[in-house]
């Protein structure tokens, strides 16, 4: 589904990603954890081409995405088509403030896929219902709580019927009591077989939902394992120190 080989990314002289190799199978849920500044978000943004890698290749659905092996960037049309199959949900929701909730959800189908109004409206309503917000459809994002906004963000990504969804710290900006409703939606998606890459600090959630976990530090993947092994029997010293510091103050 997604295959990343020898991926590097630098900002100026700063190497943020170093030799990342990663494969995600269809239907898999990958938890990505690590300290801030370790390159987790940059990795997700590269998979959606919001950042252009410095070196390396990304295959999505067995096809080279965005760039060829020599680094030549594909056309805007090709990039847009690939992106439309890779959904993304953001830490700060990034809902379109000038659109109603429903308009946000069908923004993709309407402006990217060019569907008929009847089609995109009814599908958007169904998706909005599945995240429990059908009755909010005519409100504006500013009228919703953070948790509700983030559920709209997820619905907006789902409306494109993506092959994979990237979640970039989607609960980090929420009040603690609103985290649960968003994680609940994520869990439902995982159970329905959606391929997901989840950058998060919610260790308990990763343990419960993820099929695999990677731990990143200073731009590298330090450790990759099953959740049970990862949390109970971490192999690397760096992983152990990170987990002990994170888990000690959340428990």
């Amino acid at each position: 589904m997604i295959e990343i080989k020898n991926l590097y990314k630098s900002f100026g002289g700063d190497e943020v990603l170093k030799d990342i190799c990663l494969t995600v199978q269809k239907g898999q849920v990958l938890g990505i954890i690590g300290p801030s500044g370790s390159g987790k978000s940059t990795l997700l943004r590269c998979i959606n081409n919001l950042e252009l890698p410095t070196k390396g290749t990304i295959h999505i659905n067995e096809k080279l995405a965005y760039q060829d092996e020599l680094g030549k960037v594909f056309s805007e049309t090709e990039i847009s088509i690939t992106r439309s199959k890779v959904g993304m949900v953001f830490q700060h929701f990034n809902l379109f403030p000038h659109m109603t909730v429903l308009q946000n959800v069908y923004a993709g189908p309407k402006f990217v896929l060019g569907q008929d109004e009847e089609e995109y409206r009814s599908e958007a309503l169904a998706i909005l219902g599945s995240v429990g917000l059908a009755e909010k459809r005519d409100q504006y994002p500013e009228q919703l709580s953070g948790g509700q906004q983030q559920r709209v963000g997820i619905a907006r990504a789902l409306a494109m019927k993506p092959d994979v969804i990237l979640f970039d710290e989607v609960t980090s900006a929420l009040d603690p009591e609103l985290v649960g409703e968003v994680l609940g939606v994520l869990k439902k998606l995982a159970e329905a077989g959606m391929t997901m890459l989840i950058v998060t600090h919610e260790m308990g959630f990763v343990r419960q939902v993820a099929d695999r976990v990677i731990f990143m530090d200073e731009g590298r993947i330090v450790e990759e394992n099953s959740p049970a092994e990862f949390f109970d029997n971490p192999q690397h010293e760096r992983t152990r120190s990170f987990l002990s510091s994170v888990l000690s103050h959340t428990d």
Binding site: R45, N48, N49, L50, E76, T77, S80, I81, R83, S84, K85, V86, G87, M88, F90, H92, N94, L95, F96, P97, H98, T100, A107, G108, F111, V112, D138, Q139, Y140, E142, Q143, R156, A157, M160
Partner: protein
């Protein structure tokens, strides 16, 4: 001696026809320069944000030059200095050109500033859905940028209206110029310039009030519009039910 003792109604009445003729030209120049600089400003703004380095640098130089020098000097230069270089431009076109060049530089910055002020996350979210750059601009960036752009543009249009008075120095017969001539002929500077003042105020003040109104309105959330819509829908449904 009161203000009204200084105003001579007979001079005022004599002055009105010529001053109104001037007002007509003032408004026409304002309209022409307004339309030109509103549209050119958008092109220059897009050029300043384009990928082409040459375009960015040359347009940037133009904008900075016209913003850092006085408008009156720009007008005088076009009309009085350029003829020495063999470029002769009649008063009205020279005035329109000067005002348009000046205001395009300012309006370009209004557009550019408003577009760049839309949070980066908006672009990310739109692109992540697969929107092409043009769609991102038309459906996501511009609808948000107009809230900053519209009050600022109205403000500049009022300023443009006032600045057309500077065309009097390049002998364009707009309202200020006509006032000057009439005042010099009658020696009744007080009456004539008082009238000119009143007319500029009568045209400019509603413009300023409009700017205030727009600024207040645009500051409100997007939802305040939907409340009005919802009320209307409720009314129609209840009426329909009766």
């Amino acid at each position: 001696m009161s203000f009204f003792d200084l105003i001579h109604p007979e001079v005022a009445l004599d002055a009105l026809p010529t001053i109104f003729k001037g007002l007509l030209l003032t408004l026409s120049v304002c309209l022409v320069c307004g339309v030109l600089s509103l549209s050119l400003g958008m092109f220059v703004a897009l050029g300043r944000m384009s990928k082409s380095r040459i375009l960015r640098i040359s347009l940037g130089a133009y904008v900075q030059f016209f913003r850092s020098t006085p408008l009156i000097l720009q007008l005088i230069y076009i009309y009085f200095a350029l003829p020495f270089a063999g470029i002769h431009i009649p008063p009205l076109p020279a005035g329109i050109m000067g005002l348009t060049l000046h205001y395009t530089a300012y309006l370009c910055e209004v557009y550019r500033g408003a577009i760049e002020a839309v949070p980066k996350g908006q672009r990310d979210a739109a692109r992540a859905l697969g929107m092409r750059n043009r769609v991102v601009m038309a459906r996501v960036i511009m609808p948000q940028a107009v809230r900053t752009i519209i009050p600022a543009l109205c403000n500049y249009m009022v300023q443009l209206l006032k600045d057309t008075s500077l065309l009097s120095v390049v002998t364009v017969q707009e309202m200020m110029f006509r006032g000057q001539i009439f005042a010099a002929e009658t020696y009744d500077y007080f009456t004539v310039y008082s009238i000119v003042f009143l007319i500029y105020f009568a045209v400019g003040f509603p413009g300023i009030k409009l700017v205030d109104y727009l600024e207040k309105r645009m500051k409100k959330g997007y939802a305040s519009r939907s409340v009005i819509k919802a009320v209307n829908i409720n009314e129609t449904t209840t009426q329909g039910g009766k």
